[in-house]
């Protein structure tokens, strides 16, 4: 019992003593990818479910808390047990802003790539799936990125916010306040297609469980919302997002121009 109380006290003290926070906002109503995307037609995809409104990363000593807020109350209609079900979030961290350092490719199923100056070094996946399932998917579908992917042991949704706690050490050296971030909102797909990493397809026409407004091929970005501009939530950031996610498809649905996205710098 004493050990338990000691650990509890330490964790609470650590939380207050070493807290370091970066946060971003994103405008409401820009959950339309490049400006044309529409939600799947099933009622579980409630309005605002994929509309990113905020992101916070808070270092509490040995642990770092990550939270992502949406413009809709979270629900768990599929009994995932995590307090949320339909959302899936990828947080990319560009620690050094150096061209040629880090990855410019993103996870399969997102159909985006990062600008060279925004190449990322670490990624955090927030999923309602069990961590072991996410880990297996990463092993099978993103083996080359695996060593820099952080899968929280616990990800929970409550109210409008998805939260997770990770080991600060997993982020590696550096000052989070100087890093740049990108938060890509997707939808949790338990039966992903092909090599997609638990992501939901975007098609030309929305289906019961597919987004619409894109292309039936994999040339369109499968990103519903993300940070843009300076991450302040200004209205014009919606336009910047649409421009960032611009893409071109060939007639057969193959890629002509993949969407290229950038990270957003934290304000000191």
């Amino acid at each position: 019992m004493r050990k338990f109380l000691c650990a509890l006290s330490l964790s609470l003290v650590a939380a207050s003593a070493f807290a370091q926070t970066v946060s971003f906002k994103d405008p409401a109503g820009d959950d339309d990818g490049p400006g044309t995307y529409t939600y799947p037609t099933d009622a579980v995809y409630a309005r605002g479910s994929f509309d990113l409104t905020g992101f916070t990363l808070k270092v509490n000593g040995a642990k770092t808390d990550v939270s992502v807020t949406f413009n809709s109350n979270l629900a768990d209609p599929w009994s995932m047990g995590s307090g949320f079900a339909t959302q899936m979030v990828f947080v990319f961290i560009d620690k050094d802003h150096k061209t040629g350092s880090g990855y410019t490719k993103a996870f399969s199923g997102l159909n985006v790539e990062f600008a060279p100056e925004s190449a990322w070094e670490k990624a955090i996946i927030l999923s309602p799936q069990q961590p072991a399932r996410v880990k297996t998917e990463v092993e099978q579908k993103a083996a080359d990125l695996q060593k820099d992917v952080i899968i929280p042991a616990r990800t929970r949704g409550a109210g409008r916010t998805v939260t997770a706690s990770i080991d600060t050490a997993a982020l590696g050296e550096g000052d989070p306040a100087t890093w740049a971030y990108q938060v890509v909102v997707q939808s949790n797909e338990g039966f992903p297609s092909g090599t997609d990493l638990l992501t939901r397809k975007v098609n030309e026409y929305e289906g019961q469980h597919r987004f619409g407004g894109g292309n039936d091929g994999d040339c369109d970005p499968h990103a519903i919302d993300l940070l843009a501009g300076e991450g302040t939530g200004a209205k014009e950031e919606a336009d910047l997002q649409h421009k960032m996610l611009a893409y071109e498809c060939a007639a057969d649905g193959s890629v002509k121009k993949l969407a290229v996205i950038s990270t957003v710098h934290a304000k000191k």
Binding site: S11, A43, K58, N73, K135, R156, A158, G159, Y205
Partner: protein, 730 residues
């Protein structure tokens, strides 16, 4: 007739579209994928009638023991950009135990005992590992301006609304056939229009759609406007169950149809979501339900406990919901949600969600008390009615659905169960505070009832002659029988309050700590007017003297003596008195529940792949549910007394490669100490009674009006349930 013409036109259009686009076929893609699901059940109730813990369906078994495997093959093809085709071939658990040895082990052949442990033999689909087509869907995306997609085949109706055309149950998701058109009328206005072939299994009076079923249908339309600040949805459906007009005996000009059942529901929903922390949502539905009471297979009245998803009269009613969300207005993690609800007693939507939705904000009742009696055993006072799912009931709290057509069939103890909210009126407030990994939330709900009435709300009729199908009858037991909205007498109020918390302790890989304290206070005065007492005052003088039998009539020819008959005088062990207490006071059937539930638990990522949790739950229910004069309407085990129930739940989840495994073990133990009041002479269980209802020979109890037996002994119980599963996607 007009509807049929429209249907014919739509079908022709569809075939034309499909043919035309098929000619433009490009490179075809086809995938075959599948899943296998293996389940292992174990429990000490020792039933082996099915690989599901619970069913009420006549002729189907239930069980808590056995091992079996299902397989599902999904074939999907996209011949070109305009067409998609998918189909599912699926086997079913039922009684397909591994021990059946492929179905060759049957010795019965007649399957006369649904709990025969898969003994139906090689030629009965319940035990021969049969595989069937479970779903076929073709989707055409013609690229027309006002029509994005036409779908025909299977649909689970997930794009519609739980109050009108609700999501079909998971196990039935491939069984419903529809013709669905979807598209946009304007940039922000979308529509879904559907023709549903009406399920003959449950979508009409008496859970059936009559003899002529192939033309039975429902038509529905949903229009959605999505704006930057407000969304508005209009939705309507009409269900039409028709029969051949037996009066039309000349078929030279074809044969006329006549209506067996019609159900219409219209609704409007609005969602106001300005920028900022506030949002308001409202929904209003109106239903009309019109069964053709002249038809022989359409009930025009019910007795005390009638079964049907349709009220036996032409009725109209509303359902209203209003939600207010305040999300973190002060930036300190505090949010609050509120909900007002009013679901009319006569609200009827035959296609409303039966289980897969949760239409109210409240937790409602707990799944462990979802059925009558202390042990979740309906009609347990009579022999041959053992508790099916046992004392454990279902785990977690109930989810709420706006229909009496609730379907918890073929579920296991670890699945969520649903309860009807027909007749519920009240409000819920749920404050919540969240900071980092700490979440504290609460709920307060007050429920009044639109079903609060005397003599079914119509004293001109007999007490066993009502338009309301009460199923197991509302308010029997600690919880509420999940599909029962109606009772002959009700004056009920319910208050639910709870606080729950969850915190991840940053130790090791993080320890999930969670807990909940919940209380339900419920009163139901039931028969609350002396006018409805069954007999004249002083009819039973006591002191071993027989009752006079002078009935009290609440309206001409109608007396509650029909259900609350006087007791005979008996002598047991030299004591002479009444067999049960006479119903001579309006307090004899009063119900008062003082209910507390405490839950504590912890979860931990034990290894990279294994997550485990342990939960302890304690239930304390002090229930007065009428005395021996009431007898739970003489049908169910009485539940008056002190209930003490404990649950220990061990849970393991571990994905392995592309597979997913789970393990859920629940140990339920406790006691029920009956308190049925006084005014009667206890009897002693004979060998026959003991054998019939499962009580010790010589134990005390009393025989009720129908000869059922209620034990007066304290019952100590101990039930185990285990479910392990392994699911492989390939």
């Amino acid at each position: 007739m007009r509807i049929n013409r429209i249907t014919a036109f739509l079908v022709a259009l569809l075939l034309f579209a499909a043919t035309g686009y098929a000619q433009q076929q490009q490179q075809s893609t086809m995938t075959i994928s599948g899943t296998t699901y293996t389940k292992w059940l174990w429990g000490n109730q020792r039933f082996d009638g099915s690989l599901y813990n619970f069913t009420n369906v006549p002729g189907e078994g239930w069980g808590d023991n056995g091992q079996g495997t299902e397989i599902e093959l999904l074939v999907a093809a996209k011949p070109n950009r305009f067409l998609e085709v998918s189909g599912r071939i699926h086997s079913r658990f039922s009684q397909n135990f591994w021990t059946n040895f492929g179905g060759f082990g049957g010795t019965d052949g007649t399957c006369s005992d649904p709990n025969g442990g898969g003994d139906c033999g090689e030629f009965d689909p319940r035990s021969n590992q049969y595989v069937k087509l479970r779903g076929m869907t073709v989707r055409v995306t013609p690229g027309w301006k006002y029509m994005d997609a036409i779908t025909f085949g299977s649909s689970d109706l997930g794009m519609f609304d739980a109050f009108t055309m609700g999501k079909i149950r998971y196990i039935d998701r491939d069984n419903l056939g529809v013709l669905l058109a979807q598209g946009s009328l304007a940039p922000n206005v979308r529509y879904d229009a559907i023709r549903i072939s009406l399920p003959r299994l449950w979508a009409g009076p008496n859970f059936a759609t009559g003899e002529f079923t192939s033309a039975d249908s429902a038509y529905g339309v949903q229009l959605r406007y999505t704006g930057p600040v407000i969304d508005v949805t209009g939705i309507a459906d009409q269900v039409s169950d028709v029969e051949i007009d037996t009066g039309d005996i000349i078929d030279d000009d074809g044969r006329k149809l006549t209506q067996r059942y019609r159900n219409q529901v219209v609704g409007i929903k609005a969602d106001w979501h300005p920028a900022g922390p506030y949002a308001v949502r409202g929904a209003l539905y109106r239903s009309s339900s019109d069964p053709n009471l002249r038809m022989a297979d359409v009930p025009d009245n019910f007795g005390l406990n009638g079964y049907s998803p349709v009220i036996a009269d032409d009725v109209n009613d509303e359902a209203i919901k209003l939600n207010v969300d305040v999300n973190d207005p002060f930036g300190n993690g505090f949010s609050v949600n509120g909900e007002y609800f009013s679901i009319g007693a006569n609200y009827t939507s035959i296609l409303a969600a039966r289980r897969e939705s949760d239409v109210l904000l409240t937790e409602g009742h707990d799944g462990t008390w979802a059925y009558p009696g202390p042990s979740n055993g309906a009609y347990g006072v009579f022999g041959g009615n053992p508790s099916r799912i046992g004392y454990s009931g279902w785990q977690g709290n109930m989810q709420q659905v706006a229909t009496i057509n609730v379907d918890n069939e073929f579920t296991d103890f670890d699945e969520p169960a649903a309860e009807t909210v027909i007749g519920w009126k009240g409000f819920t407030i749920t404050p919540r505070w969240q900071r980092d990994t700490l979440e504290i939330a609460g709920e307060y709900t007050h429920i009044d009832y639109d079903t609060n009435w005397q003599a079914w709300g119509d004293p001109s009729r007999g007490i066993e002659n009502t338009i309301y199908p009460a199923a197991e009858i509302a308010n029997i037991g600690v919880g509420n029988p999940y599909r029962s909205a109606y009772a002959p007498f009700q004056e009920k109020e319910t208050d639910i309050a709870l606080v729950r918390a969850r915190y991840t302790l940053n130790v090791g890989k993080g320890v999930d700590l969670y807990g909940k304290l919940k209380t339900i206070q419920e009163t139901d005065l039931r028969l609350n007017d002396e006018r409805f007492l069954p007999y004249a005052a002083g009819d039973c003088p006591g002191n071993g003297q027989a009752c006079g039998g002078v009935q009290n009539f609440y309206s001409p020819g109608n007396s509650t003596a029909a259900i609350y008959g006087n007791p005979g005088v008996i002598t047991v062990g030299g004591v002479t008195g009444y067999q049960w207490a006479p119903f001579d006071d309006i307090s004899d059937d009063d119900r008062e529940l003082d209910y507390t539930m405490l839950q504590v638990g912890a979860g931990y990522q034990l290894t990279d792949i294994i997550y485990g949790s342990f939960t302890y739950e304690h239930y304390d229910a002090d229930l007065q549910d009428g005395n021996t004069a009431f007898q739970a309407y003489r049908l169910h085990e009485m539940a008056s007394g002190q209930h003490d129930k404990n649950k220990m739940i061990f849970l393991l989840r571990f994905p392995i490669g592309g597979a997913e495994a789970g393990f859920n073990y629940e140990y339920t133990f406790g006691s029920f100490e009956p308190d049925f009041g006084d005014g009667f002479v206890p009897q002693v269980a004979s060998e026959e009674v003991a054998r019939n209802v499962g009580v010790p020979v010589g134990s005390l109890g009393f025989a009720g009006r129908f000869g059922g037996w209620n034990s007066l002994e304290t019952r100590d119980f101990e039930h185990h349930h285990l479910k392990a599963y392994f699911k492989v996607r390939f």
